[in-house]
Symmetry: D2
Subunit: 339 residues, 4 copies
């Protein structure tokens, strides 16, 4: 940590800050310049709240030197994390993995139809929502356990892994037998109790960035899971909130190369939630792969106009196949493959 | 709902949209202009996802006419909601109510000291955190039940109501005997399962705006609680995330008069979390009252420099007293009083 | 325009709004529902300020039906605009056009070196700043006319078109003999006097989106230029300001497909200013082409570490060549070519 | 400047960065910790682009220690700047100064009517737009020189100072005889050529914050004017762009106390443009004074419903008088007066 004192700071104020730092367990190096004194504080707690120094008299600014995360940082595993599944699929390896399926599981027919379609088109993972608390209290709320069973069955039938969203600690146990990947939604990115519990299982966790979360905060949330012992964390960009209202959110494609620099964890993209509009999904899916995404999460519905939720952002199966063909052309430009 | 068709929409496309609307339960009025056809659709579900129409061919834009909330809207109770407590305190009435206390409950000494100080200065409600999941996994996590008991005891001793944050459904039962108001934090504003359960109790709920939530989304979340039967909802602005990084968040003071126009619910402000820096709390507290806030939530600590969390944004007891004096001068300018 | 009245609006208020609309030249269609009256107003001025209705008593919400722009809207020229240059290069056609060069023109050696390098790699247009007013009054401010001459000379020598930024009306005349495209920077996107003057020349104008501008505002600014008679407008995404601070701005890749839907004008991307960091430029350039960009604007410097401005975001010539190779692999996935 | 090296940085990389810094004129102090080397660089140019170091190999992060502005910083004039006018009015002193008037000057009748009304209510400065380039090319564009003459005449008649917006360098000369304060609008906050010219006159300049500008950028723009010798700069918050769309912009009230801490310049607020809606102006005006604003800029029109521009955000004269009465009650709470 670097503490820059004000030009006008008195020697007494400087000593006071030094004592404060020492009491907190830091060792302090002092640089006195012509105009300004600068204190470099090393050691001590990774999570120190720098504002506690900023409010001391005579302090101008405080800069954190080390990132506030460790396990999720690139230097923890410079070669990068590859998450390997029983069926041989790897996330973080040379193959770009596509996860697809409906927003909500609605019926056996729907799940099996879509599983067959996406599997043929080259997807590796079947996605589908079982629990759907919605922003309006008057909307469809999901099939629950029944949905999980259908996903598993369809996944097994068509050789697909299964991912579904976990929303509460109590659902972890319930979901464990059915899913290959737990998805943590944007709204739960800072539900720290949930993250801690997910740190205790071995099943990989796909953690979505909150719509107002910085990338540093995303890595801090990943740290929560990893601190519990579960290192199988996959990160996902799904759009941030900006002033532009044409799309629901602004998919921050630059998050992909940034996370690849800051962290060793696989970084994926969800262009369906990131745009919220069907015809924007293919261009943003292509852009994500071109920017280096390790995997994609795409909503596909056998009949989007009749979907019970998010139909407007779901691709028709034909659109999905066409998109997969385009992605197959782009992948080699970034040294990747696609099934 | 208003569906504006594109200039180039064919009669077939228009008929297709009309059928779609009718199938969904709307009745449709058509206006054909020189350049453009416009369909007004009335009736049907309050939570209809307008994007489902926007993706139909020939549609230009869809505008929602009615607000997607009912119970929390101004017209549901035009005279405004006043929440009355057993000891006679009212939130939403002529008196501006001040809630104060430490970020986290740390010890009996701390809670009693601060309760005495804020009570003397004119506060009506004692705040304090019992459960503190933090953004870093390496930080202090709260005293739990013990904290709730201390708050209740200190509240009773100094004639203060008690407010504390609820973070999970399982804590509702636990907290019920100890608190007069449940606080829902910004991160849980869209934890719909939690909101639904809070709709089943009678204890008032103070609902904080998420840092990326629009005011419409805040009212939709209030709707969730009210739909369950608990109409005692208090709203709270606590800062939104913007590009400005000098403060943690940007306290959106304009949310106060806007909510007062859109809703009948009391609207309050939390300048401590809204700024994150001690010396910005008094000016923003004054601004909140001047803009018409019904209540304030302010962090006060008997010794902020030693606080286990958020010390940098906590006022010293003396600062708090001085602030209360200033607020007493401002309140009459908006036709209010302060104890 | 659609005016939705409040549930509680009186007949008198409704009549008052109707009179208001008629006085403004609108013809009004009234729909009276069970709960609410809705007025559809057609005709009148394209630039009507809807807030003038929103403040009338009894009005709930006002929705604009037609886009506030005409000439820049898709329906004005559904087949899309292709801008053709004397040397046969076309922007908006099947070829993705790459414009490259240094942030500032610094010397003859620099310009000729970079022009040769980018020309070999496949760029079609040489970019370079002549006038550089900087955000700090203490920085390098550009070579002016001398820079324009160097650009033109180097452009002619290596078969490249020339683009440079115009910052004031007085520079238009000065620049006309030297540039093939005028660039309007993000800060001048709403310098309406400048836009109006650029409407009077025939030289194409590349108009950059302001960092806080919505896409609708970008199209309104294009309208200004087109209203003067210059239809050769090229739009450019260069990053918007969001809460994420890792990059200078967030390059909004989704702006590319959105503009292609809303407008007939070519849409381009500037990943150099959009990210501000060299190693993020190639992934974002690839993403832009994958999302359908008609052209790219990329900063290249023969020796970025010694650049007088923006060296940190300039590519080394070798990086640029490698990037061009990658873009050549991606272009066919979107039905495009690259020289 | 502080350069934090990566954990994995080699001694060679560290030496390379040191050489780089020395070549740039910095003197370097090195701290080698257990895990990390940190370099403190002092001296050299105030406007150094830190990204030039961030791209060097082995560098983790670069922190600027000194603010990039000097003349506008608090320490340049710790006692604060008070701007004094010939008629005795002072901005930055104990009196809160109110500037009011119409968005655009429309006619002699209008200007004289409003000048009389605001003067009676206690305003000190008459505001009014002479040049109005609008965001749509189809709108009213202002009366120009004629407007300036009317403002001056009405100002003299009712003992008011005059402020009007300057939009181009060529208008400075033209306006000089008529205005007491030049206003620079949000869109021109980074029009550095204009700022530089305004640095050469003695007339005070009111500089509005851009809708996407950080407070640091606002102070850098003030620096531009001051660097030319004109120290009479007044800053103004007028709303920033956020994701909330209910108001045009979000008036960032916290900018007031922050600027008062960072700078010695008077800080004012424009609640009319900051909200864009008439009934939000009084609460935000009150909030601004309660937060410590030195002056306010408020749009008042004798007949807002007939205003040629921005009628929806203009107060009726009666509303303005009532607001002034409220402000008179609030001012003493912050140790201020109001005429």
């Amino acid at each position: 940590m670097i503490v820059a004192m004000q030009d006008t700071a008195t020697e007494e104020q400087i000593q006071d800050v030094i004592e404060h730092l020492v009491r907190m367990g830091f060792s302090v190096h002092r640089t006195t310049g012509e105009r300004q004194t600068v204190l470099a504080a090393v050691g001590a707690r990774i999570d120190f709240d720098t504002r506690n120094l900023e409010v001391l008299s005579g302090v101008d600014k405080v800069h954190r030197i080390s990132a506030p995360y460790k396990l999720s940082g690139r230097s923890f595993r410079p070669e990068g994390t590859v998450i390997q599944f029983a069926n041989g699929v790897k996330i973080g390896g040379p193959e770009v993995v596509v996860m697809a399926g409906p927003c909500s599981v609605e019926s056996r027919e729907q799940v099996f139809a879509v599983a067959e379609q996406i599997s043929k088109a080259g997807a590796r993972v079947l996605r589908g929502g079982a629990f759907k608390p919605r922003s309006s209290p008057y909307s469809f709320q999901g099939l629950g356990l029944e949905a999980l069973k259908l996903l598993r069955e369809a996944g097994n039938r068509f050789g697909l892994l299964v991912i579904s969203e976990v929303m509460e600690i109590s659902q972890i146990e319930l979901m464990l037998p059915y899913v290959d990947i737990f998805q943590v939604g944007a709204r739960n990115m800072q539900n720290f109790n949930l993250l801690r519990e997910l740190g205790k299982v071995k099943t990989p966790v796909l953690l979505k960035r909150g719509i107002a979360a910085t990338l540093e905060e995303l890595l801090l949330s990943a740290e929560y899971i990893m601190a519990g012992g579960n290192y199988n964390v996959i990160l996902c960009e799904r759009g941030i909130r900006t002033f532009e209202t044409y799309t629901r959110n602004t998919l921050d494609i630059s998050a992909i190369p940034i996370i690849h620099k800051l962290s060793h964890l696989p970084m994926t993209s969800d262009p369906s939630h990131g745009t919220g509009i069907r015809d924007k999904v293919p261009p943003m899916a292509r852009a994500s792969v071109a920017a280096g995404a390790d995997a994609l999460l795409i909503e596909v519905h056998p009949d989007p106009d009749k979907a019970l939720s998010d139909g407007a952002q779901s691709l028709f199966p034909d659109q999905f196949s066409k998109l997969m063909d385009e992605l197959r052309m782009i992948a080699p430009a970034v040294g990747r493959t696609l099934k």
